[in-house]
């Protein structure tokens, strides 16, 4: 044994001690950009000469692509060298980052196409104008404000754009709008600024898109657009700030077109007597003053959003010197027809394969996005009302709405063409084709989703035309405009019938019946749960709507089979045991097949598909009440966007909404109406069904006319008073109105009231009041369990003296029926307030699927403890069937099958009476996850200000007003690729 190796022990101990004491240094990134606003891109050679934007990025290092970002707080422009990947500090010798000073409140920035100069609009009070930034001086050393040529404007500018006054056929251009075209004006070196020693700028050097560069400048306060010659501005003496030479000024016109404004409505939203094929908004009101708030040029037309007038101006911009206004687009709101709709920001899509163009504009009032069809030749001038809206009743039919208001919008056309092996050519715009007969080597077949879901048509594969919406919350949402892979994103089963099946499929070709390859049954589609995974002008899915072991539970489904909860808590059995038969059952019902007949009920439970009649006993869905041991339901997968993960309760006499804190009961004279008033009650919005609405339901269900009153009395909603009595020792019982309650005083009065009304935990049925008439802010009620007028008056008198005139807590409950309530979605209904605030049923088909009330099915013939369906009582006037068979489409009692936006099932009564607050519960999973790029993933301090698609980079550039500065979002991954702050 030797001791020599121990020499290192002290050293090791020392090192260990050192490392234990050393903290890992925290590296805090230094943020240089501050309150960034807008961005413009310039391609500049290393010697400062501008180059056309399309020759950047340049991987040879001869040219740099610069992002010029306005700094709104500091009145500067920051320059980000995208080629070097860094923010440029113009004076490294001065602490902090030093940028280009331009003046107070920079509003917007634009760069000429050839990159020779950029222009910044500044909006300081009394110091509004435009500053020219020659690219030759975008290099170090730092320049001060007096370096830049500038001109002043009478009011602050808004958005700007560079438009080219094109050269004529002989290459001649106009030096100004008021001169004739000459060859000289196109000659490089003739401009004053061209020969300047410091910061020269010669726009004649821009040979791509030849012509004179004109600045189009919005002047919001003046309601118009100014045209300013860019070279003339650059030619001004540096540091000067004389008034701009406005060559043309187009005052925007808000003389709306005469005649009615009509908005076409798709067939699925039309209803005779309720919604006409066209919504008529009447003749548009005039008298608005324009305030331009963002524009975009497409097809030689300038589209201008307006923050003050209900128009999107359309301007013929073929010649910037003769701008003229065309008939405007007319923003309206299908949901809120009296609202004056104004807009901020517009974007125009690239043409689709059919040559269609769409304009998106942000509704200023709510931050949603309207869609206009601006395809040449299209006459409709109102927002598109999208078909399929009844399946998405919470999104406006004529708007794309998001969880947070939109801040900016942009479009991109993208493809990754696959080369055709026969021609050797990769064609942009090839559609994915799922036809099993197609040659597998053809490009259209190669775009299909692969079996392992890693390639081909998939959520993050953006092939086609897409919209991007920057949300105020810091997310970039993706909208499908034209997805060239859409045909391959669907279920395997085809439906050639024009009527939709429960998967949302309809009108498929007769052949094939199934999108699988003939040989091996491998699918040629993505096997998603719905045919509406990809829809034009709707949010794009962020994941496959598929449930399997590979991808997890992504299709609409439930986590585990439903359970029944007792009123007082704890689970109840629902199997075929004696005790189980006493309890009600929630069971799936077969789907109605589009061509008639039935399709077997099915349901995803986690990743397993349960089906009625499945050969696998483990996944067989038993729907017969007389034999089912498990509870079940079916999900309607027509529209995956309608699903949200949540806990769902189906509750007997359940609550329509949370307890209300303060209602005032006004008890009239004997025989007069008793009214519960609550200014914030919003009773119609909560879906209350009074006696009249209950009678309507009875009529719809085919209840005989002479039984509707009984139905209405039994099933109208009711108010349950939940207030506690005043405390036993409260002065109310000795000095207040309670001192003679029931002929007693003090404690005796209190005890008498408690005996009659119970407590909020153990309420007596004297606390229940049927709603005979409902209005938005008041309910006419009557005691629910009183037998005659005298009884009713007695209850009311007693209530008055026991509770006094103070505000009452109360709940709204459904009468002898089950209701569905989602943890997030709440109680869905189609009750609205009419002009007189009376609660009525909304006849608009958009809300037709918002149903949440279920009558339980009872049997007229089945008696005794072994019945599959509990027996009907004399009070039951609807949903009484003979026997104990499950309900089926078109069969007896089919009107009692519950089907709404999401669910399809029936509830069968047990042999024991159903009790209030019994509830079936299940957890909804899967559905639809929108595709978003989350800027807040890096830091929560995010506030997107503007967004633009940079085709040269294939990325979105998002300017963040908070901590992130300039963010580049890759469209390959739909995620952040680079950050510059």
């Amino acid at each position: 044994m030797t001791l020599r190796p121990l020499w290192f022990l002290p050293v090791a101990l020392f090192l260990a001690a050192q490392s234990a004491c050393t903290e890992t240094p925290v590296s805090l990134p230094l943020r240089s950009l501050e309150r960034s606003g807008e961005v413009s891109f310039a391609c500049v050679s290393t010697d400062g000469q501008g180059a056309h934007i399309n020759v950047c990025p340049d991987f040879d290092g001869e040219r740099r692509m610069l992002a010029l970002v306005t700094q709104t707080l500091r009145g500067e422009v920051a320059v980000v060298d995208l080629s070097a990947g860094s923010v440029v500090d113009y004076d490294p010798s001065t602490p902090g980052f030093n940028f280009i000073p331009v003046g107070e409140n920079p509003v917007d920035i634009v760069t000429t196409p050839g990159g020779v100069a950029s222009f910044v609009g500044i909006g300081g009070t009394g110091r509004a104008g435009i500053v020219g930034l020659p690219s030759t001086c975008l290099r170090r050393p730092a320049q001060d404000l007096t370096t830049w040529p500038a001109c002043s404007l009478p009011k602050a500018p808004g958005q700007m754009h560079v438009l080219v006054d094109r050269a004529d056929d002989q290459g001649r251009i106009r030096a100004s709008c008021d001169t004739a075209p000459t060859p000289d004006a196109a000659t490089a070196g003739t401009a004053i600024a061209a020969s300047r020693e410091v910061c020269p700028a010669d726009l004649a050097l821009e040979v791509v898109e030849p012509g004179r560069r004109k600045l189009l400048v919005e002047i919001p306060d003046l309601g118009g657009i100014a045209v300013i010659d860019a070279q003339e501005l650059l030619d001004r003496p540096p540091g000067s700030f004389d008034p701009c030479s406005v060559e043309r000024f187009l005052p925007l016109d808000v003389q709306l077109p005469a005649g009615d404004t009509l908005q076409p409505v798709p067939p699925d939203l039309q209803a005779p007597g309720c919604v006409a094929p066209e919504v008529n908004y009447g003749p548009p009101a005039n008298g608005f003053l324009p305030r331009p708030s963002g524009f975009e040029v497409a097809d030689d037309k300038l589209y201008v959003a307006d923050l003050a007038a209900p128009v999107v101006h359309v301007i013929d911009a073929k010649d910037p010197c003769t701008l003229s206004e065309l008939p405007p687009l007319l923003p309206v709101s299908f949901e809120s027809r009296n609202r004056v709709v104004t807009t901020r920001k517009v974007a125009v899509s690239p043409p689709t394969r059919e040559g269609r163009r769409f304009l998106y504009s942000i509704d200023d009032f709510e931050g949603s996005v309207m869609i206009f069809d601006v395809t040449p030749g299209n006459a409709d001038r109102t927002p598109i009302v999208r078909p399929g809206s009844p399946l998405l009743p919470f999104e406006p039919a004529d708007r794309i709405s998001f969880s947070s208001p939109a801040r900016d919008i942009s479009f991109a056309l993208r493809d990754a063409p696959i080369t055709d092996p026969q021609t050797g050519v990769g064609t942009v715009g090839t559609l994915c084709d799922p036809d099993p007969e197609l040659d597998l080597s053809s490009p259209a077949a190669k775009y299909r989703t692969t079996l392992d879901y890693t390639r081909g048509a998939r959520p993050r594969q953006l092939r086609g035309v897409f919209g991007f919406v920057a949300l105020a919350s810091g997310q970039i949402a993706v909208v499908d405009v034209e997805d060239w892979d859409a045909a391959c994103r669907r279920p395997v089963r085809a439906n050639s019938d024009p009527a939709e099946d429960f998967r949302g499929c309809a009108g498929d070709p007769k052949s094939p019946e199934s999108y699988t390859l003939p040989g091996d049954d491998n699918p040629t589609v993505s096997v998603e749960a719905s045919c509406r995974v990809v829809e034009a002008h709707r949010a794009r899915s962020g994941s496959f709507v598929v449930s399997n072991n590979q991808l997890g539970a992504r299709a609409p489904g439930i986590r585990s089979l439903p359970r029944l909860r007792a009123a007082e808590g704890g689970n109840l059995p629902t199997d075929q045991s004696e005790e189980g038969k006493q309890n009600p059952k929630l069971l799936a019902v077969d789907f109605a097949a589009p061509g008639g007949g039935a399709e077997p009920a099915e349901l995803y439970v986690s990743t397993n598909l349960y089906q009625r009649g499945s050969p696998n006993a483990a996944t067989e869905l038993v729907i017969e009440p007389a034999s089912a041991d498990d509870l079940s339901l079916s999900l309607m997968r027509r529209q995956p966007r309608a699903f949200a993960e949540e806990d769902v309760l189906v509750e007997y006499e359940g609550l329509l909404s949370a307890e209300r804190p303060a209602g005032f009961l006004q008890i009239g004279a004997p025989g007069a109406a008793t009214v519960l008033r609550d200014a914030d009650g919003s009773f119609c919005n909560r879906g209350i069904e009074d006696a009249a609405l209950a009678a309507e339901v009875a009529a719809d269900m085919g209840v005989a006319a002479n039984k509707r009153a009984a139905y209405s009395a039994r099933h109208a909603d009711y108010v349950q008073i939940t207030s506690e009595l005043r405390a036993e020792d409260d002065r109310y019982w000795t000095d207040g109105a309670g001192k003679s309650c029931g002929g007693a005083s003090g404690k005796a009065a209190f005890l008498g009231c408690r005996t009659d009304f119970g407590t909020s935990d153990t309420p007596s049925d004297l606390r229940d009041f049927r709603v005979t008439e409902a209005r938005q802010n008041e309910l006419t009620v009557e005691p629910r369990n009183a037998k005659n007028a005298a009884d009713r008056q007695s209850v009311l008198d007693r209530l008055a003296c026991c509770f006094g005139g103070s505000a009452l807590r109360y709940r709204l409950r459904a009468g002898h029926q089950w209701i569905v309530r989602g943890g997030r979605s709440g109680f869905r209904h189609n009750v609205v307030a009419d002009a007189d605030l009376r609660c009525i049923r909304d006849c608009n088909p958009r809300r037709s699927l918002l149903r949440s009330r279920i009558l339980e099915v009872s049997s007229s013939s089945c008696k005794g403890p072994d019945c599959g369906i509990g027996s009907a009582s004399s009070a039951d006037v609807a949903c009484v069937v003979s026997g104990e068979k499950a309900l089926a489409p078109g069969g007896a009692g089919a009107e009692c099958i519950f089907e709404n936006l999401l669910y399809r099932f029936a509830i069968y009564r047990g042999t024991a009476p159903t009790e209030r607050d019994m509830a079936f519960s299940f957890q909804l999973i899967g559905g639809f996850t929108p595709l978003v790029a989350n800027l807040a993933a890096q830091t929560a301090a995010v506030s997107p200000q503007s967004m633009t698609f940079v085709p040269q980079l294939g990325q979105l550039a998002v300017v963040d007003g908070a901590a992130e500065g300039l963010v580049l979002v890759s469209l390959d991954t739909v995620g952040i690729s680079r950050l510059f702050f």
Binding site: L73, S404, Q776, S806
Partner: protein, 553 residues
């Protein structure tokens, strides 16, 4: 700055659990000194500026409330000019570089002759360069008691109040002369009230400030500190919860809601006829603490009363006044309703949460501070209704009740101004009055307070603006709600917080000023809000001697 923050944190830690102010002993606060100002209010007739000082560093045994003479103050503000003709015959316009203006013309009227000839700041003198970094503006400070012109003092009166006041609210007496100031005080967890004149009322009360101070050594007496006497004030045995912070009240002051910055609660004070007195023979018993509602998100901060639509009072509609409350710990705004419980015997007024508006316009959205409402569009609508009583007027007023209010909230995750509106009402009585936020505007760090007021634009018209005060970054943003942009960033000194607007148009052109209470350096800055002037958006006067907090000296 770090020391100051440490001091603030220490003070908060010491005070937050129970309230640490003992008004009995210690050095009396110098009542004429602006000292950590936290709240300011302009009287309805615009003749008084009330400043609540908080004694934040506990140097004294309490804070103070001061009444300043705004007419004197405005007379001392330099007059902007563009030519000599804009000035009096003894003055000229300082529009050319000169030795007197150190080569930088002020564009103010200056003395044409005499010792102060050509000097932009006159007898006040120019600030030293050394103070330029911390105190913006050109001129040195103006003493409240000895203004530089040798005229009457600007300070009209002052009283001692508890330490750690947080705000001040003015309400006119509804059925008599005079008005009343309400001041939440964290130190002793009370609501102070001080009777004052109502300068919009001809026959007002015979004192400047009255809170029993004459018999109490200059400090408000116990009778004027409410919320600490459960037996007298309410039937519920309530005492005001700790750390009252924000305050707002109905237009006639019958209900006032206070937030509590360390709890999820808000309190209700009620001013009934007994509370007010008639203002002649009796000045009432003061506001009564009636209720505290809990169960709100933690750290309630800002509160704003919803203005009652005119149709309610005119037609006697069923209506419960509402308040919007912001929170530091929740990304939401709560609507709280006031119930007078008049039908009950005995009535016991209360407040109840009535709705929630989630903030979805920011990435996180919690840590909201100040909130302000702009009812100018609705009141404009109401003003345009027929003046003769009748169906036409009531129909018109009913329509106007549906005009949404603009809502503005200062939020810090990230720093931003939230812009929204209340939802259009279905009727005057059936409204949820909840805001819906549709836009957010990025701000520099530390927005704390939002105030709605007017500026005078270049055409000499009053135009509404939203002023958002950014405490940490020493800036006040002037937001144009019509153009939807910040039109001006006002540079301030350290710790701007309290803010009041004083704008009026008259035959002489009117005035447009704002007063910024600088918490850190204890002075009030006067800001020019007249866009016709070159000094628009800049500090034109410093009121009170700036003094850095002790910890940073």
């Amino acid at each position: 700055m770090l020391k100051l923050r440490a001091l603030c944190c220490s003070a908060l830690l010491l005070c937050s659990p129970t309230g640490c102010f003992d008004p009995g002993e210690g050095v009396e606060p110098p009542l004429s000194r602006i000292y950590f100002p936290v709240g300011m209010a302009v009287s309805p007739g615009q003749s008084r500026l009330y400043v609540a000082n908080s004694d934040f560093d506990l140097q004294f045994n309490g804070g103070s409330l001061q009444a300043l003479d705004l007419e004197r103050l405005r007379a001392l503000v330099p007059k902007a000019c563009s030519a000599d003709s804009d000035c009096t015959s003894e003055q000229r316009c300082d529009d050319e570089p000169s030795d007197e203006n150190a080569g930088v013309p002020s564009h103010w009227c200056v003395a044409a002759a005499g010792a102060q000839a050509g000097k932009p700041c006159g007898a006040v003198g120019e600030k030293s360069d050394a103070t330029d970094v911390l105190i913006p503006g050109r001129c040195a400070f103006v003493d409240l008691k000895k203004p530089p012109d040798g005229g009457a003092a600007i300070l009209l009166g002052a009283v001692g109040i508890g330490a750690f006041a947080t705000d001040v609210l003015y309400r006119s007496r509804p059925n008599g002369p005079g008005g009343r100031l309400f001041i939440p005080v964290r130190g002793d967890a009370t609501l102070h009230y001080v009777d004052v004149i109502d300068d919009s009322d001809v026959g007002s009360v015979p004192f400047e400030l009255e809170c029993g101070q004459r018999e109490n050594g200059g400090d408000c007496d116990d009778r004027h500190r409410r919320g600490d006497d459960p037996d007298e004030e309410n039937t519920r045995g309530l005492r005001l919860l700790q750390e009252p912070f924000g305050i707002d009240g109905t237009a006639n002051g019958d209900a006032m809601v206070l937030t509590h910055q360390t709890e999820g609660a808000a309190s209700l004070f009620v001013n009934d006829a007994e509370s007010w007195g008639d203002g002649v023979s009796s000045f009432g018993v003061g506001p009564k603490l009636e209720f505290a509602v809990g169960g709100l998100p933690q750290r309630a901060i800002g509160v704003a009363a919803l203005p009652e639509p005119a149709v309610v009072a005119e037609t006697g509609l069923f209506y419960q006044p509402g308040f919007l409350v912001t929170f530091r710990d929740a990304s939401e705004v709560r609507l709280i309703r006031y119930f007078d419980d008049a039908a009950s015997q005995p009535p016991r007024p209360f407040i109840q949460p009535s709705g929630v508006a989630n903030i979805t316009v920011n990435s996180l959205g919690f840590d909201s501070r100040g909130i302000a409402l702009d009812a100018s569009q609705r009141t404009g609508c109401e003003a345009s209704c027929p003046s003769a009583a009748g169906t036409a007027r009531s129909d018109c007023l009913n329509q106007c009740a549906g005009v949404p209010l603009r809502v503005f909230v200062a939020n810090r995750t990230p720093s931003s101004l939230l812009i929204g509106h209340t939802r259009p009402n279905q009727s005057a009585t059936s409204s949820d009055d909840l805001p819906q936020f549709f836009d957010t505007l990025a701000l520099p760090f530390g927005p704390s307070r939002v105030v709605v007021g007017n500026v005078i634009d270049v055409d000499g018209m009053l135009k509404p603006r939203v002023f958002v005060v950014c405490f940490d970054s020493r800036k006040v943003g002037v937001y144009d709600p019509d153009a939807r942009r910040i039109e001006k960033w006002i540079e301030t000194g350290r710790g701007p917080h309290a803010f009041a607007v004083d704008t009026q148009l008259d035959a002489g052109g009117g005035h447009a000023l704002a007063y910024v209470g600088h918490f850190t350096d204890s002075f009030v800055g006067v800001i020019d809000l007249d866009q016709r002037n070159r000094t628009f958006g800049s500090m034109v006067m410093v009121l009170g001697r700036p003094s850095p907090p002790r910890a940073s000296k």
